[in-house]
Structures are given as C-alpha cells and as structure tokens.
Subunit: 337 residues, 4 copies
C-alpha cells in the first residue's frame, strides 16, 4: 500500500498518518519528494485497514500494490490450472468446445444436437435448465426435467454436461446431474451462490459480469476457491459498452490478460456477446487465435423456432463448418482440438 | 412490433415473413417505401415470438413498440405509487431521507447514529446486516445480530428500518426485522432473490445494477410486482463508466426519466456512486433538485474507523448540516421533508 | 513516480531498473516489502521518461504520483479563477446563465430570443454559426452571417456572446465577433484548434469530450493555458455510456470533482446530454445544486421548427419558468444570479 | 421513418402529427394497434425533418428506418471497395500489414525499421510526423522533417507510406509525402479536417473514435466520400470502456459488423487499444481470424528508448515472429499476405 499525501500537506498531517499506520502494527517508509510526500507501507495488512484512512487530513490517495486475490492469481500458483474430467482436460494442450442449445427444450432436440456436436468435435454439452431472463415474461427453462435430459444425453454420447445454476438452493440438485456448474454473468457477484458452488466441490465456470473488470472476475473466482474448490473456469462473454449494434462488446483482449495474471482456464462465449449468428464464427476463430482454452457456443437444430436466444444460435451445419476452422486455427497457435 | 426488411429484400422474402407472422395468429400491415419495406404487426404477442424471426432471410431488424414491462410502467398505472409505512409516505409529497451506517457494527454505534439522524429529520434507518462485498476478505456483516440491533433502534427512535437481503434463503428472516427489504445493485438481476422478495409482500427497494439501463431496472421491479407485491422503490446509485475519479457515475437524469415512464418512487444514493465524502452533499442536493423522492446516505459516528465504506460516510455533524439544505431545496421544488 | 516490481522479480532486475532511473538523473527509494519491491522515484522528470520503462523485465506497473497538468490544477493556483467580462464574472459569486438557440437561423429569431433571455436573467447569448454535425447531411450553420447577427444582438441587448469555433483557420474570424470561444465536445482533443484558441487570448469554454475523463479535460485546458491564455471555462455536457434513454449521461459529480482539483469555472449543459426537453429543467436545477458556476441552455422561439436539436430546446416560456427556480436554488447554495 | 404515438394519444394528436408530416410533402401509413398507434412515413425526407417532430404532443418516439449514410454503406455499393496503390490492394484478397515506429524519431532508426518490416512482409510503412498527444508536455513529432525521412524510406524500400494529419492546414503538405493520410481517433469527428482530407483526393484511413459507434465511423467516412474521395479505409483501434487493465477495449466484433454493413476495407490496430506489448500478437492474430483486411502495428528497433508509446511497440524480432503466424491464420480464412 502506498499513501500519497496532498501537495502542501503539513508535517503534522504526515506524522498523524504515519502514527495511525504504526497503530495497526505496520511499518512506514516515507519518501519526501520535491512536491509530494508518499508513504510506503510494509507489513501484513490482511484486512486492508489502511484503505480506510482515505478521509484523513492531507491524504490524497491510497494505492494498493498487492493484488486483492490470493488464490486466483498467478503469483500464488505459477503453473496453469488444468481441470481433468474423464479424458477431457480444460486448460490443457487442447482447446475444448462446449456446444448445445441455449435452453433444453425437449428430449429429442437435445439428443439430436448432442450427437451432432459430439461428432463434430465438441467435448462438453451445454443446455439451460434454469434460465435467468431480463424479462419475467420470457421462457425460464424446464428445470429438473431438463437436467434429466442432459444426463441422458451424456449417457448416450459421452459428452460432459455444463448447465447453469441460478439459486443457492438448487446447487445440490444441479450438481447431481451436471459435470460443470455454470454461474451466469448476472450472478457473477451473487456471493451466496458463489459460496454454495464453492462448497459443492464441483467444477464451476464463472461468466464475467457485463460491468465487471477482469480483477472483479478473479475476485468472484476467489469466493469459490476459498471454499476449497479450485476447479474454476473463467468465461469472457462480453461487457457493457455504448455500442448498440452488438448486444455486448466481446473483450477478447481479456483472454491474454487473464492468462497473464491468473492460472485459471479461460473460455470464450462468442454468441451472447454479439447476439447475431453471422458474428459467431469470426469471433470464435478470433478467440482461439487470441489464446482461449476453448469456446462455448449455442447450436440448435432449428434456430428460428428456439425458445431462447434463437438469433444467435448456429445450425448444426454451420457448427460443423466452423469446427473445421477452429481446428486449423488451434493448430497454428500450437494446440489441438 | 415492426419488422424492417433489408434494402433489396425480394417479394418472396417479404411474403415468407408475412406468412410466418400470420402463422402466430397476428396481423400484418406492410408499408412499401421507396427503398425499404417495413411490416407493422398488430395483435397480442405475449411471448414476443416475433422477436425470434431475426434470422429469417431478408430481415434487417425487428423493433419492439410496446414497453417490455406491464406493471412497472406508467402506462398501466398513471398515478404515482405512494408507499405508506406508518406515517411515512415514500413517493408522496415529502422527500424521505434514509440514513445510517454502511454496516451495523454494534449496538451502541447504531443507537447513537439512529438518535442523531432521527433528530435531524431522517425517517428511515439504514444499516447492513449482510454485506455483499467484491472481495471475500472484506467484512461481511454481523447477520442476525445486526438485525436485532436494528429492531431495537426502531423501537427506541420510531425510525423505519431498511436493510439488505442477499440470499433467497434469508428473505423470511430479514422480513421479520426490517420494514423495507433492500436488493443491492449486484443482485438486481438475481431473479431467485427478486421472486422471494416479491412473495414476501414486504416493501422493497431495488438498487439499479451498475450496468443496467433504466429499462432493465423496471424489468427487475416487474419480477417483484408479478408476485403480487406492488410496493417497490427504485434506487439510482451510479452506473459503470470509464471515469475513474469517482467509483461509479451517478446518473441523476435517471430520476426525471423514471418519473416520466414509471409510477414507482425513486430514491438516490449519492455516496456509493461517488465513493468520496466531499461529493455526498452536493450530489444529495442535486438529487432533490432533480426530483428524487428521497435519498439514502451513510452516516457514521466515526467514519475513519468504519468497518465498511468509511471514506464515503458523513459524520453526524456533516449530516446535520446537509439536512438543512436538503430541506430548503425540497421547498423550492415544491416538497417538504 | 512509483515503480512496482513483479512478485518474484530478481535482485538483478531490481538493480537494472534502479540503474536505469539513475541514468536519467533521478534518485530512487526502494522499499522491500514481504511480497513485492516498490521503487519510489524522486527528482524532476519533466518528460515523464520513467513511464517508458514499462517493458523492462520485472516491472509490473508504473504509477504516476504528480498530476499531469501544471496550470489547470488547483495545486498550482489555489484560488478560484474568476473571468471578468464587462460586469459579468464567470466563476465568481453569481451563477451565470448562457442561453440562446442551438444554431443562429436568422436575424429576427436571434434578436427575439436574445431580448427574452436577457430579461429573464441570462448574461450570455449562445448561438451556433459553425455547427459540427455527426452527419454531413445535417444543417451546418450560417457561418459569418450568423456571427454578424450575434454581434448585433450583443449591441442591442448588452449580452455577451459565446459561439463555437470548429476550425483553426476560423479562430481569428470568430474572435472578432465573439466574447467567448466555445470548443465543442468532439473537438476537445483537436490540439491544433486548442493551440489557436490559446494564442487568440480570447476567453474560451471547453466542452468535455464524450469519452474524456475529468483529467483529460484538464489536460485539454492545459493546451490553451500554455499558450498564455488563462481564461478557460470548463463545461460538463455528458459522457458516453450504455444507457440509451438519454443521448449521453450527464456526469454532475464532475462538478464538485473539478471544483476540488481545479481552479477553473465549471458550466453545465443539461440539454445536449439528455436530448429531451423535459429533462432540461430538472438537470439544470441539479447542476446549480451541485455547485456549478452556471449553465448553458438552448432556447428557441419555436423548437418544433428549429434547424438543429429542436427536441432539446426550451420555449421562451419554459425558460422564464426555469429561471425563477434557478435563482432560488442558487440562493440556497449561497450564490446569486 | 416510423412515428410511435404514446399509449393514450388522442385522435386529435394523431391527426395533428399526420397533418404535419403531410405538410412536408410526405405520405403516412398509420397502423392502429391494440395499445398504440404507429405512423409509417413514406417519401424522400432528405433533411430528416420528421426527426424534429419529437416534441409534438402525443409523440413517444421517432424511429429512423433508413441508414443515415448514403455512400459508406453496402446498400449503395454492394461490392467490396478495393484500394489499389501500386501493387498493393487494400481490401482485396491479401491482408495488408502496416508497420513502423509510433513516431519518426530520426532517419537512421526509420530506415532500419523500414527495411526489416519490408523483409518480414509488411507493405506499408507507418510513422508519425505530427503526433496528437493528450498532454501538451509529450513529444509532438518532428513535422516536415519526419515526412522527408518517410519519403526516403519509401524510395529505398518500395513500401507505401501512411502518416497522420492533424490539422486541415497541413493536409496539402502531408499529401505531398504520404500515400495514405491517417485521421486519428481523436480527430474522427473533426469535420474541418475530414473535409480537407476528402478534397485532397488522397486515400485516407479513419481511426474509430474511442466513444464512436460503428455508425458514427461510417458517417465520418461519409464526410470524406461526399467530397469525391471514395478511397477510405476504416480502422478499429479500441473503444473507451470501464476496464482499466487495457488502455481501451479492442472491439473485434466491429470487424465482421463493418464488413456486413459497409463495403470499405477494415484494418485493426491491436497496439493502441491494449497499450501492452504482450497483447499485440494475440490480438493481431485474432483480428485476422475475425476477417480484418489488415493490421497496423508499432515496431521499434529499441522500444525502451522510444519517444512515444514504447510500451506497446514490438521489437524487430517480435515482429518477424508474429508475421509467420499472421500468414498462417490468413491462409485459414482464405487469404494471402
């Protein structure tokens, strides 16, 4: 922590600040510059108590030096985290493709989709059972019925299953069916939910909140990890900006940024950010080129009739075609599929 | 709903779109312009199924005409909603001030603060029992113990109590102690929580999410209202922008905007948005001048030692001084305090 | 400047950084913390050369301590700047209202508006002669003809004249007619224009760019001031955000922020930010309550027929009515009109 | 244009609106829905006069249907624009790489860089002669001297030259030396400059303003094109968002969006958006994967000593290495280098 004193802060103000820091059992290293005095602070400030000194007379700014997360950062864990589920390794050498419908709408459509994405190279089946929707009048998902269909589809195809959990009271139920629990963007700072997901011990994928910085995302992961669950996947899915042509703005630079400061795997969702089918393939390829550990995309046998997010789902044929290019791009950045 | 066809869309494409709309039992009014054809749609499209036609050949855009909310908008309910709690009327003629510490830290500090804010003209006591914090290492609140102190303070002072609920499993418990349930900004789209709050029948205050439009906020209110609970207060507390000097950017124009399109009361939180004490008073006065139905501010007997958000809390003396000006500004815009 | 070394940065990396800093003639104060080393730098780094060390091995971050502006900040000039023009003092005790049409459309409409806003208490007449427009197909202003009408209106009413300059080649011409040169939001970082405005010695008002931080705005002012022109007014007019209901989001907290860190007067434009007539009055009142030194608003005798920005202009009657409340609010925050 | 009337708008209000539209010589097609009336407008509204009816009683919204640009959109010009300069074709089958130092610092460093980027496959040499800088205290470029060095480097290497023009008074001078005029992000809505660039007839590259939508960028291009200059290249270089880890957020989805709605070539600048060397290569590869027609990157023989933007420049070796991968990715999306 560095405390920056205002230009013109008096000797007494500086001494009061130093004394206050000492009262917390921390040491100070004041540097008297030509215009300003800054006070470096050394010691273990677990509760970040120094940040509370913001209002003291003469204090201009308090600048944290250490990262606010302990377990999600690469400093604490220099090697990449690889999450092994059966023979799938998320964050490992191969990129992993997760595909399936936005919402599970029925048994047959799910199975048909699952078979097809499996044969095209997907390793994980996605499908919503509980759908958080901005409007209460939109389709909210089939609930446990959908979970059963997902489990069946896994049985038949060998795909892993990822599905969203939206309520701390459902974590136990969803964990019975799913291989990976997804926490949606709108729940990224639903701390009650994150804590339950952490306690479940189940691998989890956290989607970045639309107004969350990369640092906020790592702090959300920290909520899961401190419960003892280190199998956390991060997912870039677009942030809120002023551009209205796309629903959100996919922040692909977050991929190399996260790989630099964290050891956790990073997956990209190119469809929710853009909200338009014709943008899915280019952004999926770009994600792999940027170094993502995988992508999650919506595939629907008949997007026009989808009960949820139809405009952004790929047809089975479009998915097949995209997968060929994903494989090639992965090869160029040194990875398999 | 209006469907805009692409320039150059062929006759067959237009006919296919019209036929599809008819298949949903809706009527069409095509307008053939010089460059483009637009198709007006008339009828009751409850499920907004027309929005799913986005991917059809020749379709450029689909523009909704009706507001997506039914109960939160002024169209359905032209008169202002006034929430009467004892002799306090939120959304009525008088502006209402809610004040108290960020977090309830103990019995004595809470009582001391409650007495003082009461005598300065506040009508509602705020104080966090459950604190959602970006970092898992920050103080998370005293829980039920804090709820008990709040109830005591109400007993003694006659102030109403507002406190945050963060978990659907706690709604029942918090409802036993609080007069108004607060849903925090990070939980504005936690639909499981909104639904429980709606079912509780308790008056609720929804804080606008940092990346939520005014329309999203009204849709969140809709989640509460459709459970039968119409006593919803909206709270502007700042949105996420690129400006870093303040923590968030307080969007005061949201106040007259919401008053125009909704009948629900609007409260402004000037402290969380700005994150700096010296900005609280000017923005509180500006909020009242802009037409807010009230403000919610943090007051702490000793902000420097606060366990939560100290830098933005007012001292008791600062609060007293601000209240005099709040009263005067309220008078100019035709309201009491 | 503070250089933060990465966790795990080796002794040699630290020494290389220190040596490099010394090679610029600056002194270093390393602080060896438990996890990280930070290096405080003391000395006069006029060219901010230390910032270029970002890429050196082991360097995690470089944090500036001094403000990047010299003349626009309050540190260099603790007293408020008051710009005296005739008997009008901008930034002084009274708030100043600037009013008039978006664009000067003709002699008669301008005179009629000028007389009326004068009698309601405005001190400065606004009116565009050169209009920067997002679309080349929109009305671009009458040019020098408009400047002549503005000068006539000043002659008759005694109002000061403010008008926008959009091209460095026109600064001399516009200076002949206007009392205050306005630099529009889209030109806030048009440095060729800022430099000419600075050289003109004419009082200038800089509108904040829609994606500019307060710091960027002060740096733009710095461009004018270093040419020897200290009569700079800053204008908050809304920033770009995700909210679409209003055209931009008026950042009223920028008012007390700027008053804290700068000595320059601050004017608020409530109309361009909101883009809707019914929001102009509430935001104008809020601006005065927040401590602005004045407001600039659009008034048109017949907004429906205005050639530019009609939807946000007040009628003469609406302006009269607003001015009464502006005067009252000004009184409460200790100012006249 | 579609006019949406408010719910509850009376018969007389609707008739007044229709009459007003007719008075402009336009035809109306009212659609009377269950809740709302919308009025479709047909005819040639060149001056967009209908937009000015926003304030009329009963009008809720006015929705434009036609794109605001005429020449920059794909509707007017379905085939891709390819700009041929010597044997380089921008927007053609091959992707084009533009590389060189941020600022031209001297003859020798420029030549050395030019030779190296040429041999690695670049076709265009970039280098700033006039540098717009946020701070007036930063290096502003060598001016005409730099232009001469650029021309020399072209002479020797056969590379084309792109350099920025910042002042309408310099367009003629810069055109004498450069093959492509660059208009920087901060000048994207400097309409005086755009008009001069248009008149010059010189190929131009417009960088997207940091708070500009894709639509605003196309309108800026329109300013150049209506002067008769159709050789306009668009450049995505990052937009302003709340994320602070990167300087701006590179909006790669803008690439397929622009390719869809416009015929103009799109280049991506991965360095200015990210501001960090280690992000340049991943984002450059992602840009090509997303369908960009080329990239523009900063290369410096010794980034640590660069007078401008050192932290984001590649070394010559890093550039060589990146170019191999650029070529491979280009191949996968069906293009050469």
């Amino acid at each position: 922590m560095i405390i920056v004193m205002r230009t013109g802060a008096g000797k007494e103000q500086i001494e009061n600040v130093i004394e206050k820091v000492h009262s917390f059992g921390l040491r100070t290293h004041p540097i008297y510059g030509v215009q300003k005095t800054v006070i470096g602070i050394v010691g273990d400030d677990k509760t970040r108590i120094v940040e509370k000194m913001h209002g003291m007379p003469g204090v201009e700014d308090i600048i944290p030096i250490l990262q606010p997360y302990k377990f999600a950062g690469r400093e604490a864990h220099p090697e990449d985290t690889v999450i092994a589920l059966g023979d799938v390794r998320i964050g490992g050498e191969d990129v992993v493709v997760m595909a399936g419908p936005c919402a599970v709408e029925g048994e047959e459509m799910l199975l048909q989709t699952a078979r097809r994405v499996k044969s095209a190279g997907a390793r994980v089946l996605r499908g919503g059972a509980y759908k958080p929707r901005t409007s209460p009048y939109s389709f909210q998902g089939l609930g446990e019925e959908a979970l059963k269909y997902l489990a069946e589809a896994r049985e038949e195809t060998g795909l892993l299953v990822i599905t969203e959990v939206t309520d701390p009271r459902n974590v136990e139920l969803v964990s019975r069916y799913a291989d990976i629990l997804q926490v949606g963007a709108r729940n990224m700072q639903n701390f009650a939910l994150l804590t339950e997901v952490g306690k479940s011990g189940h691998p989890a994928m956290l989607k970045r909140g639309p107004s969350s910085t990369v640092k906020d995302l790592l702090l959300a992961a920290e909520y899961v990890i401190i419960e003892g669950n280190r199998d956390v996947i991060l997912c870039e899915r677009g942030i809120t900006t002023f551009e209205t042509y796309t629903r959100n703005t996919l922040d692909l630079s977050a991929v190399p940024v996260i790989k630099d400061i964290s050891h956790l795997p990073v997956i990209v969702d190119p469809a929710h950010a853009t909200g338009r089918t014709h943008l899915v393939e280019p952004m999926a390829l770009a994600a792999i080129a940027a170094g993502a550990d995988g992508i999650i995309v919506e595939v629907h046998p008949d997007p026009d009739s989808a009960l949820c997010d139809g405009p952004q789902a790929l047809t089975l044929t479009q998915f097949d075609s995209m997968m060929g290019k994903v494989r090639s791009i992965a090869g160029i950045v040194g990875r398999g599929l």
